[in-house]
Amino acid sequence: MRPFTYERARTPAEAAAAASRNPGAKFIAGGTNLLDLMKLQIEVPSHLIDVNGLGLDRIEATPEGGLRIGALVRNTDLAADERVRRDYAVLSRALLAGASGQLRNKATTAGNLLQRTRCPYFYDTAQPCNKRQPGSGCSAIGGVTRGLAVIGTSEACIATHPSDMAVAMRALDATVETVKADGTMRQIPIAEFHRLPGDTPHIETALERGDFITAVILPPPAGGRQFYRKVRDRASYAFALVSVAAVVQRDGTGRVALGGVAHKPWRVEAAEAELPRGAKPAMAAILDGAKPTHENAFKVPLAERTLASVLAEARG
């Protein structure tokens, strides 16, 4: 790890101010992704702002009937919250399908959204990677691509976003709330929060330098039956090959977001009109324009079958 200085922020605005003053600064929350990457010198902050003492660890009801989840709420506590289990089961399920008990006890809501890709070349500092080192090239294209994206890719990057939680947040239409050093707040719809790689895969979100996430807001419950089905190489403690977050209503309408297929949680609202007609037409519309590689082409039929199994359970 490279040397760094360390401070504890006392308010969100103070944290944001410290970050905008100091170009080499990073926030540290649970630390489970940042420290991993710092050990490999993929992240090299010169200053760490510890945001654990800010009191953003509460889940509160909003006047609109939704929930306001503090940025520092741990994944374990969010998944275990009674209101989340009852009204936003897809979110509980997604969190519980991710990582391990020890990691979920540390991982935070904001940190989870901002975790970085698991592309093997991103982790291998001996290889070119546009995301790690802009302009150096993409080793994945033409390389080992089994776990990588099938849609929304670019010539510069074909990585996926690894979060399970974010996929559920996308299906639930969550909003990310941020604050800047001068106190201005922004509300960023989750659909606009994560970006596609384009020719700047190192820019992953709509956040600007110094932006500090204070909360993630859920709208009133979507009702229906809620599912998070994750397909992976082992039964637990592994990232998704493909995952399906779904909210299915009695009449067969609903919403679907996919994990493991793109640089962001993948949802195509217009395609959801096909849902009552079944998984085949729905997935064809959701993954319309997919450009898989020969190694990850299996993800397309896998996504369809995973959705089919969710829809069968929803009916049953």
Binding site: M1, G31, T76, S236
Partner: protein, 166 residues
């Protein structure tokens, strides 16, 4: 800086970069917590912070001023074993023993999570209290890898302790 470890205040002079694991092992000579992968993938470094299990390799010591840290040394000693340590011995819940301190810290905290009603991926009804089944134990212990494959004996040891507690 000062840390509270196994009920005692301990002072350590460390770099900001020092993980909790390295502080325990290299500075305080509490070598029960093991370094396996050092990247949060194996669970050998599991300790409890304020009663919750975490990977000590993926957190910095300076972030834990004022927290109560419990390591395997704090759970029990050879002459005075914690019930979970005794159960691992009885059921042969290891071969080489390298992952064992992490397995034991993890399982003790895991049983508290079930008691507190924390659900898991293996919980079929999210709105009901989680039940203590072998499937639940396996899923909840997936963050501790055992390269010797002592898993079935580990599940037996944990089940026995859980049943005695119930």
């Amino acid at each position: 800086m000062s840390l509270r470890i196994n009920g005692q205040a301990r002072a350590a002079e460390i770099d900001t970069r020092t993980t909790l694991l390295d502080t325990l092992r290299e500075h305080l000579k509490l070598t029960g917590s093991k370094k396996g992968c050092d990247h949060g993938q194996c669970g050998a470094c599991t300790v409890m912070v304020n009663g919750r299990r975490v990977y000590s390799c993926l957190t910095l010591a300076i972030m834990h001023e004022g927290d109560e840290i419990t390591t395997i040394e704090g759970l029990g000693q050879p002459e005075n074993l914690h019930p979970m340590q005794a159960a691992f011995v009885k059921h042969d819940g290891y071969q080489c023993g390298y992952c064992t301190p992490g397995q034991i810290c993890s399982s003790v905290a895991m049983l508290e999570e079930i008691k507190a009603g924390v659900p898991s991926h293996a919980t079929s009804d999210l709105t009901a209290a989680p039940r203590l089944t072998a499937d639940e134990i396996r899923e909840r212990m997936s963050g501790n890898i055992c390269r010797c494959g002592a898993y079935s004996n580990i599940v037996d040891a944990i089940t026995e302790v859980a049943e005695k507690q119930a």
